[in-house]
Symmetry: C2
Subunit: 492 residues, 2 copies
């Protein structure tokens, strides 16, 4: 078995033997080798794509099956006599309509059906008027009507509401109207043709809908539901990582490993998923009840949740720039707020994770209010600590330090030797301010999710006791950091 390794600027081929050892293959220069490498990397990527989400492969097989079934209408002589030469419409319908999700397929089916019926109806009317007007005016009437209706239908595709729902239908309307009214001028058996065409389209549509809903169905609504849950987890991880990294830097570990970097960049997925959310919500509305979702599931509310998550992600983006900012806060001031900042981020991210669990299980959590309370307490404590910081600094700048508010300092020893220029606190203050803002934005997510809970009638959770295990786990590292901070402060 051969596999390819690509380092920075080097490409190496190895053949793995049966005994597990591997042998480096001598690279051949020239365009053939490069083409081979490219082809291999392409196949490799395609393979990874399939392995990553096997449902995509299943979808492809479904398309293959649907097309092969439709082809039977051509192969079998009895059917051939039934639907005649127009059975190409069945093939065309399957190719054009079969989409990845059930919602998208149904949406296209309905669009195609509505567009075809409306246009066919109008075209027959126009054809009748033209036939009454004699040979001279007939073509003019048909031509003018094609021009006007095609222009109008094309314009309608620019109107946002129609573009979002009926774009494909408008195209089919133009196509059918042109075909029927124009061919009506020659072909006398207009109704026969319309009947044949419709019957084959109905066959194609039925095959598509049966296969897409019954064989491993992929529901747009479920995909949207999962996307939101996945993005919430990414947002929470990103926040945790960002705050962790900001204070880890002070421990001299500037190196960010790939795992952390990937988690850190999770908010970018949230920022970039607007288009996907919009289209999935658009398709989900066409889907029948499935799984835990009713037909009237409030899919639009998911867009609101997504928007509120993006609001939070913008703040995390601003927060992440503090990591690479030139004006880094000095170590000591960082240490001073490290625990509280970490606690704010830990509580905020556990609120987000709890919301993700709520949505995933479609149950109201009893723990949520407790977690939000924890978050708000942490934010308040951080605010108070920030207030005490100047007092501390001013105390340091006086010859004999007197801690003015010993309770707020929570027993931490106060530095008496190094005066701190107050301006150096500013990066940290900015970081903390952004954390406050994130706290506020997490609450907008909470509001959006709670609206969803009401609209979709989420059931209360099975267990009513607030489990504190998760929170304890989240605060454990903070306690450890607390102790470390104290040690460092002792040394300074």
């Amino acid at each position: 078995m051969s596999n390819m390794k690509e380092g920075p600027g080097t490409i190496e081929w190895r053949r793995r033997e049966a005994n597990g050892s591997s042998e480096t293959l001598t690279p051949e220069s020239g365009p053939i080798r490069r083409a081979c490498l490219r082809a291999c990397s392409f196949v490799n990527k395609a393979w990874e794509l399939g392995a990553d989400d096997p449902r995509k492969v299943v979808h492809c097989l479904k398309v293959g099956v649907a097309l092969t079934i439709v082809s039977l209408f051509y192969y079998m002589r009895p059917l051939y006599d039934g639907v005649g030469g127009t059975s190409m419409w069945a093939i065309m319908t399957v190719v054009v309509i079969f989409e990845y999700t059930v919602g998208a397929t149904i949406c296209k089916c309905l669009n195609r059906a509505t567009g075809t019926f409306l246009a066919g109806f109008l075209a027959v009317g126009v054809h009748w008027i033209a036939s009454q007007s004699g040979e001279r005016f007939g073509p003019i009437i048909v031509g003018v009507s094609v021009f006007i209706l095609a222009s109008a239908a094309t314009f309608s595709r620019f109107i946002p509401v129609i573009k979002a729902r009926f774009d494909y239908g408008a195209m089919i309307f133009i196509l059918t109207f042109s075909l029927v009214s124009v061919s009506g001028y020659r072909v006398e058996k207009l109704f026969d043709m319309a009947y044949q065409r419709l019957s084959t389209i109905v066959i194609g549509v039925c095959i598509c809908i049966i296969i897409t809903t019954l064989v491993c169905p992929i529901w747009a609504g479920e995909e949207l539901h999962r996307l939101i849950v996945r993005n919430m987890d990414k947002l929470a991880n990103s926040l945790d990582c960002c705050v962790g990294q900001f204070f880890n830097d002070s421990e001299g570990t500037n190196h960010i490993d790939k795992e952390v970097e990937k988690k850190l960049g999770g908010y970018k997925c949230v920022l970039n998923s607007k288009a996907a959310e919009d289209s999935m919500a658009g398709f989900a509305r066409w889907e029948p009840a499935h799984g835990c979702f009713t037909f009237n599931h409030p899919w639009k509310q998911y867009l609101k949740i997504g928007a509120s998550m993006r609001g939070c992600a913008y703040c995390i983006e601003a927060l992440s720039t503090c990591l690479i900012s030139e004006n880094q806060a000095p170590e000591f001031t960082k240490k001073h707020l490290s625990d509280l900042c970490s606690r704010v981020s830990a509580t905020a991210s556990s609120v987000i994770r709890e919301l993700a669990i709520n949505i995933e299980t479609m149950r109201k959590s009893t723990k949520l209010d407790f977690l939000i309370g924890e978050m708000n307490t942490a934010v308040e404590e951080l605010q108070n600590e920030l207030k005490s910081l100047p007092a501390l600094v001013i105390a340091l700048q006086e010859p004999k330090p007197e801690p003015k508010d010993p309770e707020n300092n929570q027993g931490e020893p106060i530095l008496t030797t190094t005066p701190i220029p107050l301006v150096e606190v500013i990066p940290l203050a900015t970081f903390a301010s952004l954390l406050f803002e994130i706290g506020a934005r997490v609450e907008t997510i909470v509001d959006a999710v709670e609206e969803l809970e009401t609209m979709a009638e989420f059931k209360p959770a099975a267990d009513d006791k607030p489990e504190q295990n998760q929170l304890n786990d989240a605060t454990l590292p903070d306690q450890r950091r607390d102790e470390e901070t104290l040690k460092v402060l002792d040394k300074v």
Copy 2:
């Protein structure tokens, strides 16, 4: 003339008389009235859409003309005899291929041509093998090949590179392969059919391309170019407005009028235009040289510029939350930094506007370096001022104030009566920190635009003298604000 006014929850109809007076129409209740109102508002919106961008209307007329021309192939008897019943393919081609921009139309044409040829070639091959295999195995070979190729082509549409460029081509490949290989089983005149179909498709494609490129062409590249320029202006306005509004609030004008609100929200357009930029850059690559753009114009670089602008917009988003934040900085501290913050935003936005002019005129500006210098000086001054702030505050907290660094305070009178809690400076410090970050991000936009200048070989500007008029205009309000601030400080 009637017009409709909608307040919160109320809808009112007024009839304007010739003499200018207006009369309130009695509202009729019931579903008919509501339907009328809805229809009117729909027509109104559609009218606005057309009035807003008349090119959309022109596009619709172009589609109408193209379809009417194609219909001639059916009406005229000589042509009818020439291309026969397959002329429906010409109509279908026009309906499906005619897109808003030239690039999109050409992209679809090439996709359709490539997909059709490849699939036709393969299908004829499969048909030949099947015909050699006898009546028993022939259908099986055709069926299996349809299944395999349809599945593979469907899978290829999931691969990002193919999805971005050849999605439509892959669909046409499946369609043509199924149609040709399946119909080949019945229709013996396969080559005749292929010839007829191709000739009609070529007619449709030619009509589309001629009309789309010659009659009021809409180039995707030019649209992208304009979008970037427009977004830069919006970004600059948004930044100016945001900073202006932050300091205007201190003058007691909490009311934000609609004009300002619209400008303030300009950054949202930048945040939401990623999808549009991506698709336009994808289409622009297919377009021939037009206007000032060569065939190989570096359209990809526009995506980089767009990304760097979004980076800046994220910061403005964070900045705009300072406007609605609960923890507002007290008036005095705001006044203290008002001029410098305004100067940073004015210089940063004039850099962005200069970049917009550079791109719009496709010329290198000699003024740009000067403007960037100005911006950096303003940022540095703000940083220094921020450093002096704590000294000022500490001086205020001592019984007898002694200005420690009179040079930094630039002759401003120092308050001696009101001690300021230092924590209240933090919102302002956050605001200023975000402004520094915006300065840094504006420089990434500059870098991206300079790369574009090199790649697209922008010419140097005609006039070599740096014009200072624009900057003077930009700084004029600041000077005025300077004076106002001094007056207010005198009063305090």
